[in-house]
Subunit: 367 residues, 4 copies
């Protein structure tokens, strides 16, 4: 069923193909009275933009966002906000050779089988180009969070593993993230990743990555059990990103090696007489509801499927073939997934803050 | 917002607390004309029932399912099917001591903060007792799949790790699953887990587990990109199960160590002239759509939070306390999660089969 | 698709057949901390109960409501509230004769054609017995409105026409409503209706009715344009009641005889320096949003389809037949529709109040 | 909550303001493989376009529809279809005078109160300009119906009353509809309406209208009881159109004057041995499900609120004012509502056909 929308109270719908005229989205449910302009959104888009370093796709797109509706004299009006980006560097001809052949590990085969038709140009709708609109929606979601929560909430992400090479968490420095091409929080790790990626790229190969997203200053109480638990919605949001194969909250799969004792997040009373957890194995979510601690999530991105090595496949007439996927590809698509992951977490949180408000607030007699 | 419903075309809504009068659910969207009776559902419930071995909770519940509506003369009528189970072994008094104290790593604190009130008896609504109704819904979902797909689809699960002890996949034997108390597919592993669990239990501790669910004979084409991708919905479904902290599809987090080449699932043409994948790193899903391969998912369950060791916590008046959680608890709740995981996968698939039909079928002139 | 649920933020799902074991509903999204008990709900149910006068069905049902979940120590907990009524006066055998025949103007034919199966006993799921659960849900909705709005909102309804006989609006007295068997606000009209209904009943016939529902003290701002306008949702809610064939807001169809001038609701400033409308042709809704005036809606209920006159019909084998529908039927089902209409308006308003709160409130720094 | 979307399986979301840069919509859930082009949509838009006669608004808009995504090589791909129209005749300055004043019977006051902000230019989002996108969506809905049902379904509408002047149903001729400026099916009525409208316009006044929509060749079985009954969804759809104050199905409010006998639609067996109804008081819907008869709905449109007569109102500072609303307005907006009503019925039916398929079809073994 209709599935190009995300969210419940704060909802966005995306459209557009990789090599179509434009991509866009419509944001519905944005509260009125929020100052917003194109620059606010552009900042986030620029983080995800292709062509920004030699370690990402060389497609040239300015990804200039346009606000079409729903903002009047600089403020949101409560009506739908349409946004779009004109595709500038479309090269449909680059894809003539894959018109009748399925690129393995891409969605070519499954789209063709499901729909009986597909826009083959750069993956059409299944391309990660769609994620640009998620980043745009996420930028608005952050504005909503700031509006409702008085600028408290902060969302930030980092790559913590590229191929087999992990960051050293003892070296973690958030300030480092914007100093390198990899959203890497460990200064010592940067050159290792650079070397690894250059090797991988020269070999015509690709590698995977793990991304961690942290949300700070989250109020206790977000999440709607049983089937819209905060972690359940985060899992859905992150798994919906292209090429993601796993999602974790808090200690994630690591909990299997803990006991009820070592996994327990004890609670004490701090100096301000407020409850305080002494650890955060749970990743800030208990029973599907935020506990007030930082919300920690992680996801893994598979190696880019488009590589310069021959892979066995078939064509649309069931003939066996071999394919080498040329074009402009990221050797590690996981790197550009950081702003996308941040955006999805922002969208989930904005939606849940609004949901929580709806059951916890009253209307004053004046209204 | 209202969140006790799961699914879109095949939808179920659950209600009830751990120590209330009954738990139940309403299934909406079940196609008409399906033969169904209470025994069909009871079989699945019996797999998840407490008290079935010394390695699970000793709460005594027959978990007898009753069909209240929507089935007429043995067949579904297309109207809502209400199901319920009367709680028999309620012991609200067992929980008097936790009325004013938060059990760490449970949802006590977050429910109290979110709602300003909570049914403290056995966790109330946040108890895993709710999952009995998921299993009931899953039993109906399997009937729907059999009805629509001519009995082809098969869904089965296994525990693949208990605490630090993993099964040896070379020993995998599905027939073994029902021969032991742990849904363990590796005969050699059974005694190791038994020993480990007995030790853990004697220590008043608990441990985590990893579960793997496999769905066979799935048609190609299930999944509704972009935001109801099959893997996205599976992630949401599994993460919504109590105590789950991570979800994987196919090779999951393992893909970070692969390259685009080693991760590729090549396609060939088999003897019947049908497309065939030579491997299944993707877990049967490409671009959010089933590829026709087995759908492989995994999830991790944290160690039972109720343990016989003292843990620091606070009471509802912000006083520091220590708590030892007595009662009837599973030393490894992950074990009983197998039928729950199977049920959730069945529900996701039944929903998606109906969704796919809605865009791919026509009405004949007779209708 | 799954369709037995009503509402978005305040949502209820009903189940059960006319002559099944019980009927029930699950309310989801009820805010926590509201005092509620079975008596609160029973009061409303008693207004709609059959057997209360000779002008309604003689089916004997106490319609005793039971609260099964979601209420703890007298207060809602924010978790789903399951309610049910045990059917006491089931007489499935009364319906053996209509097992294989379609009662004209009933849903027998369409249910059989749609689903290929139907529970023929008293109309099964299509019976107006389902509306008992709407009234129960409406009673909770009123509690929500009182909780959020400090007891301001008031919802009340009246029958304004029975067959061809209209009330005289100059005689309107709300106090009169509970003094007669017809929810009639015009004392002079009561005996006319009584005479008419007795005549109709003796003839084995039935007649239609028009009901008007008024909601007072509604805040300005409820309604979510464009596709969840308050009037659009009211139209949907009222039209979903059994036997309803038309819905109006404010002057309704009467506006066709007005001009832009005579239809205009002028605005002035009252003594308290507040805006005040000098008339209410719009029925309290402008652009789909409540204006702060009384919300006025009307709906028409067709004559009871079960009559003691022979009607041509067919059986399930496409043979022509004649049918006389005996049983316990209301000569004018429209009368008992008053509490149902009130309930639906209450549900729509409770849902919209919560929706409006979600976009208009912020969270304080303490949360 | 987010409310700019209509439909469930076939869903569309609209955006844009009357005097913004463009208006548009995103259609989600359109089945793949349907031939569609801009001309197909333009035909319907041209019926609703302003400036087409002296009896409608003189705003000059070509309303040229553009397909932005979701159609590849002339066929739908199953991905979202974005459509838009560039606003050409924007005259925001024409509205400077109403920036700080509320036009009575318009949505100015309620939008300002609800959102605390409004785009005052021509009513902004509350303008009927939004309905252009409904007509575009309806054109696609008709394509879906033709695709699924082999071109059988036909939807057509007529104005049946303008001010106090009704058509004579004995003169009804569908072919007449396109021969006059009023969608009038009664040739003799045309000149009367013309005279009436000219008089009304000269007086600076406006009048209401009643529109009837008929859908032919509808299969039996559409509609999802209890809360997505076909008539309930139609009521919601029609009531959501700007200025609509009432909706009827079949005999509508007229049923109040019938008895169970005169209202009964008897069933016989016709020459082809198929069931046949001898009348259609029900308007083709029984129990919320289509009966296979023509679906008949009606709605009333209030007189245009913008008139050249002075009306009392207030400004945004609660000062009393008088207003005369100049500008380019229809003397009877109801006339242009015909294609809009047709479009909404088409959208409801397309959605319901897909919903019905999802519960009634199976997948063959090949899939």
């Amino acid at each position: 069923m209709a599935s190009n929308s995300f969210g419940k109270l704060f909802k966005f719908t995306t459209y557009g193909e990789s090599h179509g005229a434009q991509i866009g989205c419509v944001l519905d449910g944005v509260p009125p009275g929020i100052n917003i302009n194109e620059k606010d959104i552009q900042v986030d888009l620029d983080k995800r933009r292709p062509g920004s370093s030699k370690f990402v796709s060389q497609r040239k797109e300015s990804d200039s966002i346009k606000i079409i509706s729903g903002v009047f004299e600089g403020k949101t009006t409560g009506t739908p906000i349409a946004l779009h980006i004109i595709n500038e560097d479309q090269r449909p001809k680059d894809y003539e050779n894959i018109k009748n052949i399925y690129r393995p590990s891409h969605a070519d085969y499954t789209y063709q089988m499901k729909y009986g038709i597909r826009d083959h140009r750069g993956g059409g709708r299944s391309s990660a180009r769609e994620t640009a609109m998620r980043v745009a929606a996420g930028a608005v979601a952050k504005k909503i969070l700031a509006h409702i929560m008085n600028d408290k909430v902060k969302i930030r992400g980092a790559v913590i593993q590229v191929g087999p090479i992990k960051v050293n968490r003892n070296n973690w420095d958030w300030a480092e993230i914007n100093q390198n091409d990899f959203f890497c929080p460990d200064k010592d790790c940067v050159s290792k990743w650079k070397t690894h990626l250059e090797k991988i790229r020269k070999q015509g190969l690709s590698c995977g990555a793990i991304i961690e997203i942290e949300a700070n200053n989250i109020p206790v109480g977000l999440g709607e059990p049983i089937y819209d638990k905060l972690d359940s919605n985060i899992a859905s949001a992150l798994m919906s990103i292209n090429a993601v194969k796993g999602v974790e909250i808090g200690d994630g799969f690591g909990v299997v090696n803990l006991t009820g004792e070592t996994n327990a997040d004890e609670i004490i009373i701090d100096k301000n007489n407020d409850p305080k957890f002494t650890s955060n194995h749970a990743g800030g979510i208990l029973g599907g509801i935020s506990s007030g601690q930082d919300i920690i999530s992680r996801f893994v991105v598979k190696p880019t499927s488009s590589i310069l090595r021959p892979i066995k496949t078939i064509d649309t007439k069931n003939k066996e073939k071999e394919i080498i996927t040329k074009g402009r590809h990221d050797p590690c698509v996981g790197i550009r997934a950081v702003p996308i992951g941040e955006a999805m977490i922002a969208c989930v949180l904005a939606d849940h803050v609004m949901q929580h408000i709806s059951i916890s607030k009253k209307m004053s007699s004046k209204e």
